[in-house]
């Protein structure tokens, strides 16, 4: 899709104006000129709103749980970036795959891991989606093709290329979506993974969640070019910059990239311009050291949930009452997840030495996950 009409340039305080977007409200021909909303649109947009709101409310409770010691270790919240996970994963099939970084709670929920299993994992309990052995940074769920939250920046990109290789090897038409932050593009693994994915034409979507900061280092202080989706040019790879706060823009970019991956098995690099409304991790102040309060406030104006909500209200697909009901329902779901996690037992001490090795071989019954 090349740059999709986007002018490559970078403005830290207005990062979205250059990007592909749909939710620009009144200025968008797509919304202004289109037909009245039908049931299909209402259903879709409500499901996107629900997905993003679930992540938001869930993460808010995670911050609370962390403060009182229910969650330990490193904990990285996804608040502000929900349009990327929802817009992307809402377009995947159940048999597709995804892999991501340590900022993985929101994506786990958006992919369909239950809030109970995610919260129990965060609490380090046996009913967690990794049995309490992974924690915040290492969510896994084979059932939904969630191939993990990975803790080493860039380390999971070659794995995504490998999953793409396996899809091609088996002759399937699945795709793998690989999420990573903009700081990972400066890592050698990024180059190695993208080069092979393009060289071998593999159905991989590399999705940069450009939230502007690798921990506290801004993209301008870390990358020799600021329009980092242009790095795909080195691999002759399709690429685009997308407004990552606009869930419909994300979906539309993903639709195009997924279609190409399924039909031509070619990879795409998408740079989703987004922003985290919280600190890097729980120990990081929201603003004040490496980013200003004024900058944060500017970005808060483009809250992905508020943007979709405003759009739906404009389209007549959402009322204040429905919004309140949805919010109440989701808060109850998150409370249920908390209660479930709290009631779930800690792993027994016998679990310490379980899962270091499997004792099977391809003769005794392979547990490697089958062929599909």
């Amino acid at each position: 899709m090349s740059a999709g009409g986007v002018t490559p340039s970078f403005n830290p305080l207005s990062p979205f104006i250059m990007a592909k977007r749909t939710l620009a409200a009144k200025t968008s021909p797509k919304t202004a000129a289109s037909a009245p909303a039908g049931d299909a649109e209402r259903t879709l947009h409500l499901s996107l709103l629900r997905s993003m709101l679930l992540q938001r409310r869930f993460e808010e409770r995670c911050a609370e749980a962390y403060a009182i010691g229910r969650i330990g270790g490193f904990c990285h919240l996804y608040i502000g970036q929900e349009a990327v996970s929802t817009g992307t994963l809402s377009h995947l099939r159940p048999d597709d795959y995804m892999i991501t970084t340590y900022r993985d709670h929101g994506q786990a929920l958006a992919r369909g891991i239950t809030p109970r299993a995610v919260m129990a994992e965060l609490f380090g309990r046996i009913d967690g989606c990794a049995g309490g052995k992974g924690g915040s940074m290492h969510m896994f769920d084979k059932e939904t093709g969630f191939l993990g939250g990975h803790g080493i920046v860039g380390g999971h990109l070659p794995i995504a290329t490998g999953v793409g290789f396996a899809i091609k090897y088996r002759g399937g038409d699945q795709v793998i979506c690989c999420f990573f932050g903009e700081a990972a593009v400066n890592n050698g693994a990024f180059h190695e993974a993208l080069n092979m994915a393009a060289l071998w034409k593999l159905p991989v979507l590399f999705i940069i969640e450009n939230n502007r900061y690798g921990m506290g280092t801004s993209v301008e202080r870390a990358s020799a070019i600021n329009d980092i989706y242009q790095r795909a040019a080195s691999y002759n790879m399709h690429r685009a910059m997308v407004d990552g706060q606009d869930v419909l823009a994300v979906r539309s970019a993903i639709e195009e990239a997924v279609g190409r991956a399924r039909s031509e098995q070619s990879p795409t690099l998408l740079e989703m311009r987004t922003y985290r409304f919280m600190g890097h991790s729980m120990s990081d102040a929201v603003s004040g050291t490496y980013r200003s309060k004024a900058e944060l406030e500017e970005y808060l104006k483009r809250d992905p949930i508020a943007l979709l909500r405003a759009h739906m209200e404009e389209r007549g697909t959402l009322t204040e009452q429905v919004m309140q009901e949805l919010d109440t329902e989701i808060k109850a779901i998150v409370q249920d997840a908390w209660d479930f996690a709290e009631a779930s037992p800690e792993p027994p001490l016998e679990a310490l030495m379980e899962h270091v090795y499997v004792d099977t071989t391809s003769d005794t019954g392979n547990s490697a996950g089958g062929w599909s």
Binding site: K133, G155, G162, E192, A193, V358, D363
Partner: protein, 326 residues
């Protein structure tokens, strides 16, 4: 029984396992068109095609990760490192991913992958191409590590490694590829974690593995001329470790020398010495002695390189020392 080279034994193992299981594929630098940097994969591209014998760019971290990803979703990759020296670039994938995914995922994702290639020194290749990495690899819970010293063990262990549902590191030897030995005509497997008593004696136990098995056997021949007979315990697998085989032998001979190719500090021999002092404390008639490479990077100059290596004269001297003969 056919007499074939170590190289051909590995080649047979790869071919047989790829014929047996369509999920098995070979990936690495020069494995296809070039027929393998050491010709281990000779003929495989022609037989299995380029989807199953995959030439990669020079990108160790990248293709090790590709293997891990493919293994996560059901394939059974064999990743060839041209040498284990180059695998240092891939250590994040080997250590942080392949070894840990089963555990971190609470048992959901096991990684049936083989990482293989020559390990240790050849001749005058200098410091960066002459390193033995088994102590690094065996240090990691989640990895299995094998080091065959003979064609028979090379074929049997590689087949077992390919069939194992865990990540297995197979440490071959550049200086072993041309060595010949007996290999049965029919199908066989050498199970992981089972040592082999390569020589039976009574005065001392030499514990070793991989290429050093040949050094130990040559030392045993020399020692026998002076009436000293030794057990040579070839571990074959370093992890899992066949502790029983070591203990049984040392309890019989009451003396132990550990011969390893790599460096002294925190080497595999330290682990074995720990085992022997715990399990055979009352059986030992002398301290355990370790024969290792000199504690320095490998030099290029011929004389210095020879002096650095854990060779036959040093092994003989160690055995004589635990027997209080010198």
């Amino acid at each position: 029984m056919a007499i074939i080279t170590y190289r051909d034994a590995l080649n047979q193992a790869l071919r047989e396992e790829m014929q047996r299981d369509a999920r098995v594929f070979l990936m690495g630098e020069e494995v296809g068109v070039y027929q393998g940097a050491y010709k281990v994969s000779k003929g495989l591209l022609q037989e299995f095609g380029e989807m199953r014998v995959v030439d990669t760019p020079i990108t160790e971290l990248g293709f090790a990760g590709v293997g891990v990803g493919a293994a996560m979703v059901g394939l059974r990759p064999i990743i060839e490192f041209m040498t284990w020296n180059f695998a240092l670039l891939a250590m994040d994938q080997v250590v942080n991913v392949a070894a840990k995914l089963l555990y971190m995922s609470g048992g959901q994702f096991n990684i049936p992958i083989v990482f293989r290639g020559p390990n240790g020194a050849a001749l005058q290749l200098g410091a960066q191409h002459s390193q033995a990495w088994e102590s690094w690899l065996a240090h990691i819970p989640g990895l299995k590590v094998v080091a065959p010293g003979t064609p028979y063990d090379a074929k049997g262990l590689l087949k077992a490694a390919i069939r194992d549902d865990n990540p297995v590191c197979v440490l071959e030897g550049e200086m072993l590829y041309n060595n010949k030995g007996e290999v049965p005509d029919g199908e066989y497997i050498v199970p992981l974690g089972v040592a082999d008593l390569k020589r039976v004696g009574e005065h001392c136990t030499i514990v070793t593995w991989g290429k050093q098995v040949l050094v130990a056997m040559a030392a045993a021949d020399q020692l026998a001329k002076d009436g000293i007979t030794v057990d040579v315990v070839d571990l074959r697998s370093i992890r899992p470790l066949d502790e029983r085989a070591i203990i049984d032998s040392v309890r019989k001979t009451n003396r132990c020398v550990v011969l390893e190719e790599g460096w002294y500090f925190a080497g595999v021999g330290a682990q074995i010495t720990d085992l022997v002092q715990r399990e055979c404390f009352d059986d030992l008639d002398s301290p355990v002695i370790r024969v290792t490479q000199a504690d320095a990077p490998m030099p290029y100059a011929k004389g210095l390189e020879k002096a650095a290596k854990a060779d036959m004269p040093k092994t003989i001297a160690a055995v004589r020392r635990v027997l209080y003969l010198d």
